[in-house]
Symmetry: C2
Subunit: 243 residues, 2 copies
């Protein structure tokens, strides 16, 4: 049996500008620069902070950080684990949208190009390869995290990575949870700048761990967990071959 | 003796727009959007590709990728090793400029803000903390990589990380090279999208390694090497304490 590994970037701070902010000057100004309508562009605290404050958005501190998702996604998609199709990657947003990442997707490192891809995805709901044969990115609306986990990917273990989890190390977490008895392990990393997972996310975890004594950025946690997964899987491979 | 570790992002694809490109429409247009003069903005292939092609820039394939430097720098500066002041970070650019990263520097994840910081650095040569007491970033002109290594930081070992180096693993490289006999190890990672280090860089390496069978992005190599350094130093710490 082959171990299957998923990474979920959860409560991800990625969305288009909400309707109530569309007429704010910072939004209109940026939409014009990008040649888009205000409702199409990504909510971004770097530009829309005054508009977000004024509108009193709910969950304000978890919103408008597409840069965090860009880094987290780039980290995961640059690993040999992903390149060799041994990792599935999903983004579940703070506004209950699910983004499914296609096999072999390469996202642009240039934020300008990443932004363009995401704006198109939110508009078209799907992005295919230029020959039209492969799904690169797919967006589904109105799916709660619980629906995605329990009715969607249904992993054998759902491992939360959070600074309020049980103190451990990336190496220990991976070696303890990826065993021959489990066929599908999903790791969950928060795609937001501060605070913790909501109760609705937390309650679904089989267990929750914190790696390291310092709070780590999402992309650092992703880099370390996936690297340890690769090391463990290489080791298994080596043991099989050396018999 | 405490092991001292440096990371150098070398031949870094980071510079302001060269004079011969300043009048190209893509450059003027972007400078206007940013409210800067054309010679102040960063050369960026995402915007200036046609201008770069037309001008026939030398070392074309190693230039205009500030996004690569943003990712590489973010990766290094997000590690506990850096946060705990156990790592010095330098950028040496393809155009012989040296950027010294101050202790505890936090660079913005938002590319828009990162770009602003870098534009200011190239213009002012130094960026200090708001109270004026700490150097955050410092830029020095006209220093070759050789001058920087031999007359500047003078490490005991200079370890190149390159896909044409000796095949090894991040763990092996770190455990083999960070020993009690060495007081200063500098790792060198390329800050460019493809190709190899130039002869002038290569000739200074004590040794050169490749990690993994696939070519890895600079930020992935940085993440893995620094993580293994942390693991090794924690181990040393543990051994000292348990005596």
């Amino acid at each position: 049996m082959v171990t299957s590994i998923s990474l979920i970037i959860a409560e991800a701070s990625l969305e288009t500008v909400p309707r109530q902010l569309a007429s704010h000057p910072t939004v209109k100004n940026q939409a014009q620069k990008l040649g888009r309508s205000p409702g199409e562009i990504l909510l971004d605290k770097s530009y829309h902070h005054p508009a977000m404050l004024r509108a009193g958005l709910d969950l304000y501190w978890k919103r408008g950080r597409p840069d965090i998702i860009h880094f987290a996604l780039m980290e995961a998609l640059s690993t040999p684990l992903f390149v060799k199709n041994m990792l599935k990657v999903y983004i579940h947003t703070v506004k209950n949208k699910l983004i499914v990442i296609g096999e072999n997707l390469r996202i642009p490192k240039s934020y300008f190009r990443f932004e363009g891809v995401m704006i198109n995805l939110f508009k078209e709901k799907v992005i295919k390869s230029t020959d039209g044969n492969n799904m690169l990115l797919e967006l589904h609306d109105n799916i709660t995290f619980e629906q995605f986990i329990l009715n969607g990917i249904r992993p054998d273990k759902l491992i939360g990575l959070s600074s309020d989890g049980v103190k451990s190390s990336a190496e220990e977490i991976v070696s303890r949870n990826i065993t021959k008895n489990n066929d599908h392990i999903a790791f969950v990393v928060g795609g937001f700048p501060k605070g913790h997972f909501s109760h609705d996310t937390n309650k679904l975890f089989s267990c929750s761990y914190s790696i390291g004594e310092l709070k780590l950025e999402a992309h650092v946690v992703i880099a370390r967990i996936l690297y340890e997964c690769e090391k463990l899987l290489d080791l298994h491979h080596y043991q099989v071959n050396s018999k």
